[in-house]
Symmetry: C2
Subunit: 122 residues, 2 copies
Amino acid sequence: MYERKLPIQEECGLDLIREVVFGKWKIHLLYYISQGISRPGQLQKNIPEASRRVLNIQLNQLEDDELVAKTVYNQQPPKVEYYLTDLGKSIMPIINELGQWGDTHSEHLRRVIKKRLILPEA
Amino acid sequence: MYERKLPIQEECGLDLIREVVFGKWKIHLLYYISQGISRPGQLQKNIPEASRRVLNIQLNQLEDDELVAKTVYNQQPPKVEYYLTDLGKSIMPIINELGQWGDTHSEHLRRVIKKRLILPEA
DNA sequence: GGCTACAGGGATAAATTTATCCGTATTGAA
DNA sequence: TTCAATACGGATAAATTTATCCCTGTAGCC
């Protein structure tokens, strides 16, 4: 994979959680899996902005970190189903709150995010 | 600053919140500010692993996104105090839960994180 | 003058994460 | 036989984020 050069911070709870859920699509993946969208293809359809490749990478990381696990059916064509581990389930209430907070404040958030795109006038 | 080339996702609440709090030190900054650690120098002492520069950058971003605001005292040597806006305050319960979740599962999390450092045996 | 405390930001390199492109494998259906 | 469906991962480029280094400015103290 990738050989780290900088130390990983793991002092406090905030460091630790950042390590496992701060990826571009990780909270989305956890959310959809918690909603019963379990197969890779379905997850991809639900997150069309993400490439197949990145989703696979982030699913693997979630699996390495034991937030999700999968069942690989031994058949052709392949069939795989992801599900949340107990640890993964335990974090869902918080991720749901994050999503709700974002929805609740979506107007404000879209406004401040748009400002980033405005180039300073010449 | 930096001129973006890729579009910013802002479909759902999870996209939006990611944009404003997924920085290496943002949740830490929000946490300490919520605890009354308001001056830049104090924040730096509380997050010694982070460089002065990055903290400034991330504080500016939090300010741009209106999660924090600051009072600049017109005096020498300079004095600045950050505080949470209403929007910033509204997110603290969730950030506190994230920290608690990380603390609660710290043993597990440290274990899985350490696995990342193990180089495959020759 | 030189040093400290305080806060801030430019410039650039390095690290890390994502994006893109392409190739593998198997079964069944057209 | 060629194509679709299903899932996986290598290799490399590009984008983005962080790390590093260094400089500015002021008031007071020695």
